[in-house]
């Protein structure tokens, strides 16, 4: 539910990073914040617990410049990943225009990824949105752990588990090192803008 202001020629779009707890959603935003510090005028907002877990959401507003004569402001949000925070997670999804699903590549997290994606589908449905229609990108995070001997799911397995029906763009990434974090973001921004184009003509 992007807002297009015809008067100031400004578009505000909401992109939400979703996924299981400790999967790297906040780390994605922190990397983007550090990388584009000079272009982001305000501070990143994080509402978290004393133990540094996301309690409500992180928020990062990001000017991406002009598209078709409109100043485009993208608002990046994360949700809390922990199962118990489902009520707040649903609130953050209100009015979402594009989604990144950050999956955890560790073998032991396989089930949590699947459950979290299913939870996303249910929560979108509560706003009458279909997961098959919302602009969506998958990110298989923590690929860097392979070097440290942590057992990781092969990308083919992740694709089969999460993307066999959705068939959306996916990236192998490491939010900690920054690998493929920016390409993930660029992809979701471009998909979201394409879906908004009809109204910006």
């Amino acid at each position: 539910m992007a807002f297009v202001n015809m008067k100031t020629k400004e578009v505000q779009a909401k992109i939400v990073y979703y996924g299981p707890g400790r999967g790297g959603k906040t780390t994605n935003l922190e990397y983007i914040y550090s990388k584009f510090r000079d272009r982001i005028k305000s501070d990143m907002v994080s509402i978290k617990t004393h133990g540094d877990r996301t309690l409500f959401f992180d928020f990062l507003p990001f000017d991406i410049g002009k598209i078709m004569g409109y100043d485009v402001k993208v608002q990046l949000y994360t949700v809390p990943g922990q199962v118990k925070y489902d009520a707040t997670r649903r609130l953050v999804l209100k009015g979402v225009d594009g989604m990144v699903f950050v999956g955890d590549s560790q073998v032991e997290q396989r089930k949590k990824n699947i459950l979290s994606l299913k939870n996303l589908q249910e929560n979108l449905a509560s706003y009458k949105k279909s997961i098959f229609k919302v602009p969506l990108v998958l990110q298989y995070n923590k690929r860097d752990l392979e070097k440290e001997g942590v057992p990781l799911l092969p990308v083919e397995t992740l694709e089969k588990d999460l993307n066999s029906q959705l068939k959306v763009p996916s990236f192998s990434a490491s939010a900690v090192t920054g690998e493929n974090v920016v390409p993930t973001m660029k992809k979701i921004i471009s998909l979201t803008m394409t879906s908004l184009q009809n109204v910006m003509k």
Binding site: M1, F3, Q12, V45, F56, F59, P61, Q75, A87
Partner: protein
């Protein structure tokens, strides 16, 4: 998936033209900022800023404020439902020098008012109620 889904996933159920936005900004400026309010924002429930107006001396991070305000409102609204209330009618945070007042305009929009000690809460609520009626008459 069937007909339970809204095909138009990305766009708003409301559209506001330039003239409507100008009328809304006029209300914000004439009814609220001229009454001594420091800054006023009309936001939607997703946290987007629809219109804003201030007295020229405000330097707040309004985009973050809008995101937090919509989330705060949604959280309080959910709490109301849990305790069996339709909604909590007064939403107000008081500070030493700045206070924030939230008012629901309709199902889509919220009016966020930031004001100082020189404006009483009673007067503010009166002015906000008038402004909300005027904004609702815009569409």
């Amino acid at each position: 998936m069937g007909s339970n889904y809204d095909d138009n996933v990305t766009f708003t159920d409301y559209t506001l033209g330039q003239e409507q936005l100008e009328r809304i900004e006029h209300v914000l400026s004439e009814d609220l900022v001229r009454s001594g309010v420091h800054s006023v924002l009309l936001i939607d429930m997703a946290g987007n800023i629809i219109a804003k107006c201030d007295n020229g001396n405000c330097d707040h991070d309004l985009y973050s404020l809008a995101a937090l305000a919509s989330a705060n409102f949604a959280a309080v609204d959910t709490m109301a439902k849990i305790v069996g209330e339709e909604e909590f009618s007064l939403l107000f945070h008081k500070g030493q020098s700045e206070s924030i007042h939230f008012s629901k305009v309709n199902n889509e929009f919220l009016l966020i008012t930031i004001f100082g000690k020189e404006v009483s809460l009673g007067l503010l609520r009166l002015k906000v109620t008038e402004a909300v009626e005027k904004i609702n008459s815009v569409w």
